[in-house]
């Protein structure tokens, strides 16, 4: 089957919902899922769905009668990591002390185009709200994703994947999560933010 082919004839019409008396609509849990049933990922790590607070009240986001697989992630936001430096995983240092030097952004994500990327620490990137230095907050979301992976809050992609994304963005101007698909900096930032609670 060519998945790109549209098959509008078999789709429910916009104008009227299918009439199914007795069916509980907009049920995210139950015998008959009516919403998001499952996702087949094209690239590891590129399709996971974070459990949201509201989602956790109504069941797992990828649970249905068709699949018992549950995908859960507990990624935290740049704001969380900025405000809770004592929660940073071992080996990552938010500030310079007598015992260690603050971790530089460029030691993990090298060759960035801005001064912030080249000389700033992970914390500097989290704190910065300068769109000229961190367009789309991409660096901040990368740092959050990096700390999420290092602290085992998410497991569906790795530091290597993050480094590949960064490499491809500064080398080619985009990252390709699947053949024929281009994610630019804003797209990557949007994706990473969707992995944060």
């Amino acid at each position: 089957m060519d998945i790109q082919d549209q098959d509008q004839d078999q789709a429910a019409g916009v104008g009227g919902m299918p009439s199914k008396p007795g069916r509980r609509r907009f049920a995210s849990a139950g015998a008959k899922a009516s919403g998001v049933i499952l996702t087949l990922a094209s690239t590891p790590g590129m399709a996971c769905v974070c459990k949201t607070p509201s989602g956790s009240l109504s069941g797992n986001l990828q649970t249905s009668s068709h699949s018992t697989q549950t995908v859960v992630c507990n990624g935290m936001s740049p704001g969380y990591w900025k405000n809770w430096p004592d929660q940073w995983p071992s080996g990552c240092y938010p500030t310079t002390t007598a015992y260690q030097t603050a971790t530089k952004f460029a030691t993990i994500f090298p060759n960035g185009a801005t001064t912030l990327y080249q000389t700033g620490t992970l914390m500097d990137v989290l704190i910065s709200n300068d769109p000229a230095q961190d367009p789309h907050n991409l660096g901040a979301h990368l740092v959050a994703a990096y700390l999420n992976v290092k602290s085992n809050k998410i497991s569906f992609f790795t530091v290597a994947v993050l480094k590949t994304i960064w490499h491809d963005l500064y080398t080619y101007g985009y990252y390709a999560p699947a053949a024929g698909v281009k994610w630019f900096a804003k797209d990557v930032a949007n994706y990473l933010s969707s992995t944060e609670n």
Binding site: A11, F26, S34, V36, A41, C50, G55
Partner: protein, 83 residues
Amino acid sequence: MWRLVSGQCLAHRGWDGEYVVYNDLSGDTHLFGDDAMQLLLQLRAGPTDEEALAHALEVALDEREGFAVMLVELRALSLIERV
């Protein structure tokens, strides 16, 4: 206001009330029920605020929580976004 994420074409096929949808941004393939598909098709027609969307889809008051959860789920899949 909610809208489809730019670049999503919603290529899909449906069987027996379930729909396979290709995600143009992630390259993933999703399986959705009737309600999620209706919601996406409604947003393909144009950006819509949540109240108008609920009205268009005839969402009952006791279904609003599930409806809100579905919006969050579809947003997490980068299919729709709030503007």
